[in-house]
């Protein structure tokens, strides 16, 4: 099966200009290659600073990669200019690691979710509002909250709002950068199940970035492990977490108490 997204030798370097112009180059991504098939989930784990968020930003075309290719539905989106990208953007959505700052503080929850729809010009105002409200409800925000501004929500509610916004465009690829980490366990499980449900009904493809190995094993069809800007190991959860081959993976597994790998049941926990 042809992959939905295929990344080849992706490199991202940040040059930080120090004092007196002594330029220091940080290699955040170092020849990263992987692919994800449509309707599947790749869980991405790795130590802090290993380049996970950078990869997410590059895939969403919010950072320009230094070199390499990103094939999305047969097109190299890393080579597109801003105008061509506009048609692609709605299909790749990113839920930011810090949802609070990614929401416009002047907008109400309803505006946040309808704004991306507005630009698509596919729906009338009533239909847009209906869609947005239904989505908010599905993600666990009541209709009464829809007219509140983002500053009046709790951290977890903002996280849900960010997820709802990303889903509103019905993307093909959804990148979730530690999108569940500020939620409590029961809500985490609830949203994880919602994600699985949506995946089976809309053939969604996920790149799920997390520090939580159990969640990675639960949601991921495969797990990829990042270390210092490289993907050092990739495979099914049982193999990667049960018999890790790379030292970085062993470190992550050792740091997690209890047994991680629980066989994934169709239909949730």
């Amino acid at each position: 099966m042809q992959p939905l997204i295929q990344v080849e030798y992706l490199v991202k370097r940040y040059s930080s200009r120090g004092v007196l112009g002594s330029g220091e180059v940080v290699s955040a991504l170092n020849e990263v290659s992987f692919s994800v098939a449509p309707g599947k989930t790749l869980a991405l784990v790795g130590a802090s600073g290993s380049g996970k968020s950078t990869l997410a930003l590059c895939l969403a075309c919010l950072e320009r990669s230094t070199s390499g290719r990103i094939w999305f539905e047969g097109r190299d989106i890393a080579a597109l200019d801003e105008k061509q990208l506009r048609a692609v953007r709605p299909q790749i959505q990113l839920v930011f690691q810090d949802p609070a700052s990614s929401l416009n503080p002047r907008f109400t929850a309803l505006e946040i979710v309808t704004e991306p729809l507005l630009v698509q010009r596919k729906w009338g105002t009533r239909e847009m509002h209906e869609r947005a409200l239904a989505l908010l409800e599905r993600i666990g925000l009541s209709r009464g909250m829809a007219s509140r501004r983002t500053g009046e929500f709790s951290g977890g509610q903002r996280q849900r709002l960010a997820i709802a916004r990303a889903l509103s465009l019905a993307p093909k690829l959804l990148i979730l950068d530690e999108a569940l980490s500020s939620l409590d366990c029961s809500v985490q499980a609830q949203i994880a199940n919602l994600l699985l449900e949506l995946q089976s009904s809309f053939v969604l493809t996920y790149l799920f970035i997390t520090h939580d190995l159990a969640m990675a094993a639960h949601l991921g069809d495969e797990i990829a492990v990042m270390n210092r800007g490289r993907i050092v190991e990739q495979g099914v959860p049982e193999k990667v977490l049960g018999a890790p081959s790379h030292e970085a993976t062993r470190g992550l597994v050792a740091a997690t108490p209890g047994s991680i790998v629980t066989p994934r049941m169709p239909g949730g926990l």
Partner: protein, 324 residues
């Protein structure tokens, strides 16, 4: 609404204070309008004394202020000695001309500063940005007066623009289109001076405010939803950067107004400026007080408009203290 009513009370207090201060300062200056008459041998000293009594210049200051305030409340701004007519209508015609100049200059300078500043901020450090920055720095370095005189010289040499006044002779006989053309030509020079002196500061502030929000994560997120660049700039970034700019708007009205008073004198535009200068020189007390008060009123109204803007532009202020 509490926000606005508080601002309104504030405005009235400012007007009140300014009226007291102008009254005080004009009275502290030695002499009055009738002092010159005393030197005139054809006018008997008794006449001067009688005149002063008639205009109540011989009464103590607090009494004069109280009487003046009372008549102002009743819509009478006092009497001009040198024009020998009530101050109200005199000021009104002049004020209209000044307002005309100031409002046009305000709209024009903001209409230019916003796109220039946004454009600059979008290409921070690039060639267009540096070009604009240098041009603005250059403009800022030229004193207002030099700019006005330079433009006047240019107009006189080229003959493209009339160098003074508000309308040509025989203005009334022109067709409406030609009237408009005549007015535009007459306004061009004073408005150009005002806009050019106001622009550098405005562009700098717009640029700085926009540069501060252009890297906000929520803008990047919005970009990720495929929202077009123009909409990002004007619907997301500009409102986020607007609050300091709206306050600057109130301030810019003040700056343009005081600039306008100066430019009017230099370019003989029949506004409040030349009237005030004349009145101050001849110690025409009520014209001075009325003129200063009217200018203050413009300022206060300008700032109030800015406050209304602020209220209207920021949903978080509108929502009141709930949205902390």
């Amino acid at each position: 609404m509490r926000f606005l009513s508080r601002r309104l009370i504030h405005a009235v207090l400012v007007l009140f204070g300014v009226s007291i201060l102008t009254f005080l300062f004009t009275s502290l200056a030695p002499g009055d309008y009738f002092d010159e008459m005393r030197l005139n041998p054809q006018i008997a000293p008794e006449t001067v004394v009688a005149l002063r009594a008639q205009y109540q210049l011989d009464r103590p200051l607090p009494v004069r202020y109280a009487r003046w305030l009372n008549s102002v409340v009743h819509g009478d701004l006092g009497y001009s000695f040198s024009y020998n007519s009530p101050v109200g209508p005199l000021l009104w015609v002049r004020a209209r001309n000044t307002l005309f100049l100031t409002v046009t200059a305000t709209l024009l300078s903001w209409g230019l500063a916003l796109p220039l500043g946004v454009w600059s901020a979008e290409r921070l450090g690039g060639l267009p940005d540096s070009l604009i920055s240098w041009m603005m720095a250059g403009l800022m370095a030229v004193p207002d007066l030099a700019l006005a005189l330079g433009l006047l010289l240019f107009a006189a040499r080229s003959g493209w623009f009339p160098t003074g006044g508000l309308a040509s002779l025989g203005f009334e006989s022109l067709s409406p289109i030609n009237e408009l053309r005549d007015l535009t030509l007459h306004m061009f020079l004073p408005v150009a001076v005002l806009v050019l002196t106001a622009l550098p500061l405005l562009v700098r502030h717009v640029r700085a405010a926009m540069a501060g929000v252009l890297h906000a994560p929520f803008l990047r997120a919005a970009q990720g939803h495929g929202i077009p660049r123009r909409r990002l700039l004007y619907r997301y970034a500009l409102p986020a950067a607007a609050n300091p700019l709206i306050s600057l708007f109130g301030f810019s009205i003040g700056a343009l107004l005081s600039g306008s008073l100066l430019v009017e004198v230099v370019m003989s535009w029949p506004g409040i400026g030349p009237l005030l200068v004349e009145a101050i020189l001849s110690r025409d007390l009520y014209v001075v007080v009325g003129g200063v008060l009217l200018s203050t009123l413009f300022l206060v109204v300008g700032n109030f408009v800015a406050d209304v803007f602020l209220y209207w532009a920021d949903p978080r202020i509108r929502a009141g203290p709930v949205a902390k």
